[in-house]
């Protein structure tokens, strides 16, 4: 592997030539803020928050997409960079509901984090906002369109599973939005409620509906565990409050696994003190289901029953 040496905020970094500036910065302990970047997703360079200044280059460049070169001198917090970041954040806040008090995402929201970091505030204006629209058709996911910052992460993560690819963009310009299939409700769409998209949404635009109102991140404890539904084990978290396990949420897919609803329900069933009624989707409708059906163990239970009665007969 070829290595290159560059300077980031005065620190020397020696990294593989295939690295981007953002990766190199991480290596030397410098965090560059980014909303649309994720190491597991294709680079889109959309949010423009990770802009940095490269000496000898008059333009600002996105550090998520710009490859390192030997001798490069990068500034990640120069006056020019900070000004641009504040502008990006201000434009996002200008088109975002001021709802942090009651938002389920508070405390974990990246927009909140960076707004705080760069001291950018909500302000009143009489210009346009995204229309208020929440899709409540799914028992597992809440889509709050007004909060979406169009980071593309949900679209890219859903796209990674070949037979899902549910999410796309609809419209363009200021009217751009994330759509389920051809802009259907979550219920009607082909969404399989795996919650991959929810795990990656940086704001409160896609939320785990079964978690809402139960606890927030600072309220109680969060314990990681691995799903036991199949041997791969996607990462989940159980959230507890006052000594009670109140909710389970998907954290990230396991190696080679896509995350799935069955796994999530199994995890709820096994971990929660008071699991809520499960729902499954049939013909584009969510219907209440028994735990046996939701966990797909009816056949097994039947067989066990039969074996039990046989045992009884034999006795």
């Amino acid at each position: 592997m070829r290595y290159v040496t560059l300077t980031i905020d005065g620190k020397k970094a020696v990294v593989p030539a295939s690295y981007t500036i953002l990766q190199a910065a991480e290596e030397v302990g410098i965090e560059i803020p980014a909303l649309c970047y994720d190491p597991d997703l294709e680079i889109v360079g959309a949010c423009r928050l990770c802009l940095v200044e490269i000496e000898g280059n008059p333009k600002l460049h996105t550090s998520c997409s710009m490859a390192v070169t030997d001798g490069m001198v990068v500034h990640t917090e120069s006056e020019k960079v900070v000004h641009a970041r504040k502008m990006v954040l201000q434009l996002l806040l200008d088109n975002h509901p001021n709802d942090c008090l009651t938002c389920q995402k508070a405390g974990e929201c990246l927009l909140q984090k960076y707004a705080y970091m760069y001291d950018v505030k909500f302000r009143e204006h009489d210009g346009a906002y995204k229309p208020e629209y929440t899709d409540t058709s799914s028992p597992y996911i809440l889509k709050d369109e007004a909060k979406c910052i169009l980071c593309h992460k949900c679209v890219r993560i859903c796209e990674q599973v070949a037979d899902r690819q549910v999410l796309t963009f609809a419209n363009r310009g200021f009217e751009t939005k994330v759509a389920f299939d051809a802009d259907m409700s979550i219920e009607e769409s082909s969404c399989v409620s795996c919650n991959r998209c929810v795990t990656i949404c940086p704001v409160g635009a896609l939320l785990d509906k079964r978690l809402m109102g139960k606890t927030r991140i600072w309220d109680g404890e969060v314990t990681e565990f691995k799903c036991k539904s199949c041997e791969y084990g996607c990462d989940f978290e159980v959230l507890s409050k006052n000594g009670k396990n109140v909710a389970v949420r998907a954290k990230s897919p396991g190696e080679g696994r896509p995350l799935c609803l069955k796994g999530r329900l199994t995890s709820e069933f096994l971990n929660l003190d008071d699991p809520e009624t499960p729902y499954i989707k049939e013909d584009g409708k969510f219907i209440e289901a028994s735990w046996e059906k939701a966990l797909e163990i009816e056949g097994i239970l039947d067989k066990l029953d039969k074996m039990d009665s046989k045992d009884a007969e034999q006795c």
Binding site: I43, V44, G45, A46, C47, R48, L49, L51, K59, L60, T62, C64, S65, M66, A67, H83, A84, M87, V88, L91, L92, D94, N95, G127, A128, I149, L150, H152, T168, F169, N171, R172, G173, F174, E175, T176
Partner: protein, 584 residues
């Protein structure tokens, strides 16, 4: 003897097909031995439909504005051998406007029949590719293009040889060549003119470029709104294949074979941006990708790809047939050759003109374009479409070359020139262009998606008389930010119309904001209509015409407008015969 009808989209829109039919009938009826042919657009939109007559000695007479009657008359006059007496022979002034041009990329447009490959070959076509294959290495071809100094005509003006070379040097054996025929700049139609009028020039240019970079497959991305262009391209491609220029080992030298296909793009303006175009070609939503990597490194399906504009390609056969020096002899030090401009707006002779680089803006607008319509005063010219900027009267004498235009804050762009007269409100003009960009933003990146909307809202407020002190500074700050932080060229140039109008017409912005006045009297919300009691004769015509009964007064007494009711429709101003109504 031959009659040739200009049948580009513009000619057809003006009635060229009808003229063709009449000529056909009349020739048949007269029994005269006159051949009838078609050609593309010569660029003089204001004179369409245009018909050329070539007599047996090869002398050409051009007839303009040929309607049904004139068409009949033309045949009569030919039969009677008195064509010169025809009233619709082109004027000397218009002939001169044509003579001032220098046609390289449009060399055959309006002259040869685009649907007949023999006419292209007779005019020297497919000689350049023959020379390349038989006598030159790809490196030598690139060197010739370097000598020519040709720069991309699609907008950014990047040296063409450099792009050819980057794609050639890029590792990999599978490479692609793409022609950008998306032409989304409103008002620009130079690419359409080449596609419709001389498709073989593009095809030959692409084969040469394919040979130079080592790409055996080419794709023409043409906007679906250009059906005639697509039709003629298809015809031309079939003929080129028949003659062995496409899909066959060229000239049997065992060196190179090139295939070409068309992709009709129904995309938006942003699909003309090269990386968005590639996404669209791959069947995805047409949104730009971050650069680097550039298409030369990672293009179509991740393979090295070179993308050039139609006009760029159309220049290439000329360069390879006549030598790079011949091309470089035209133009200026930094901008070689010619450029096609689409003259539009408040100009007398709108249309396409191809001129040597370095000609002054004044010469183009007044010398060739005939000056300002209705002889009004010149105010500014918008160059580069919605990505460009306005250039005020004080720069009329600068030469049109890349560096000089860029210095003004405008861009050469694809060659749009929208002329504005003294009645144009520059704030309103900036709003018009920003509205376009804002709607065409793909929505991918934050600065462009959110920022252009906020700028547009501010301009709307200003033109509605709700502007506040500080708005100009806010526009400048936001505009510069959007230009510096956006992902693609659309956002990176979106603010130019606003920034240049602020730079040159700041007083107009100030008048709107501070005095709530529109100096050009275009922004309705800022106008006040009043009746001068000295001039008013009390004829009552204004009161009777006012749609909202804002005017009161009795017969033979001065009338009065109630500003609270007036909706500023301008009706009273129009109907008053005594000039008593004034607008401020």
């Amino acid at each position: 003897m031959k009659l040739i009808v200009g049948q580009g989209s513009c000619g057809i829109a003006a009635g060229a097909s009808k003229a063709y039919k009449i000529l056909e009938e009349e020739i048949k009826n007269s029994g005269a031995n006159i051949k009838l042919g078609s050609t593309g657009c010569i660029g003089m939109c204001y004179l369409e439909p245009i018909v050329d007559f070539i007599d047996d000695d090869g002398k050409k007479t051009t007839f303009v504005k040929v309607d049904e009657e004139i068409a009949k008359q033309i045949v009569k006059d030919i039969v009677a051998s008195k064509v010169d007496s025809n009233e619709n022979v082109i004027s000397d002034e218009d002939k001169e406007a044509l003579a001032k041009q220098k046609r390289i990329s449009l060399r055959n447009c309006g002259i040869i029949d685009p649907e007949n490959i023999d006419e292209y070959i007779e005019s020297g076509g497919y000689k350049a590719i023959e020379r390349c294959i038989k006598e030159m290495t790809p490196e030598e071809v690139i060197e010739e293009v370097k000598v020519s100094g040709l720069r991309g005509r699609g907008g950014a003006g990047f040296p063409t040889w450099f792009k050819f070379n980057a794609a050639r040097q890029s590792p990999g054996t599978e490479k692609y060549l793409v022609c950008n025929a998306d032409e989304g700049d409103p008002g620009a139609f130079m690419d359409r003119s080449v596609l419709e009028g001389d498709p073989h020039a593009l095809i030959e240019g692409m084969i040469i470029a394919g040979y130079a970079i080592g790409a055996s497959e080419g794709i023409i991305y043409v906007r679906a709104e250009y059906p005639l262009a697509i039709k003629r391209l298809n015809i031309a491609m079939a003929q080129a294949e028949e003659r062995g220029y496409l899909n066959k080992d060229l000239f049997g030298e065992g060196k190179f074979k090139f295939s070409l296909r068309i992709k009709a793009g129904a995309g938006a303006f942003v699909c003309g941006e090269e990386t968005a175009l590639l996404e669209s070609l791959e069947g995805n939503r047409g949104t730009p990708r971050p650069k680097p990597p550039f298409p030369a490194q990672k293009g179509y399906w991740g393979k090295p790809t070179n993308i050039n504009n139609v006009e760029t390609f159309a220049n290439v056969p000329f360069i390879l047939a006549n030598g790079g020096d011949a091309f470089a002899a035209v133009g200026t030090e930094d901008s070689k050759g010619t450029k096609v401009f689409a003259l539009a707006g408040k100009i007398k002779k709108g249309g396409l003109v191809e001129v040597p680089m370095g000609m002054t803006i004044r010469e183009i607008i007044f010398g060739i374009g005939g000056g300002i319509a209705e002889d009004k005063g010149f105010k500014a010219v918008q160059m580069g479409g919605p990505s460009g900027g306005c250039i005020p009267a004080e720069f009329l004498d600068i030469p049109v070359d890349y560096a000089s235009i860029t210095k003004t804050g405008a861009i050469m762009g694809s060659g749009g020139m929208v002329v504005m007269d003294e009645t144009t409100c520059m704030v309103d003009m900036a709003k018009f262009f920003l509205d376009f960009t804002c709607k065409e933003s793909c929505g991918k990146c934050t600065p462009c998606r959110e920022g252009t909307k906020r700028m547009l809202e501010m301009l709307e407020k200003i033109t509605e008389g709700k502007g506040e002190p500080g708005d100009i500074e806010k526009l400048e700050e936001l505009g510069k930010f959007i230009n510096s932080a956006s992902l693609c060229g659309l956002g990176q140039t979106a603010s130019n119309p606003v920034l240049t109008t602020i730079r040159y017409f700041r007083d107009e912005y100030e008048a709107h904001i501070n005095d709530k006045k529109c100096p050009a009297k275009q922004c309705k919300a800022l106008l006040t209509y009043t009746i001068d009691p000295e001039k008013c004769t009390g004829c009552t015509i204004c009161a009777r015409n006012c749609p909202v009964e804002a005017i009161t007064g009795t017969l033979k007494e001065p009338h009065k407008i109630n500003p609270d009711i007036c909706i500023k429709c301008g009706k009273c101003y129009e109907v008053c015969r005594f000039g008593a109504v004034s607008v401020e």
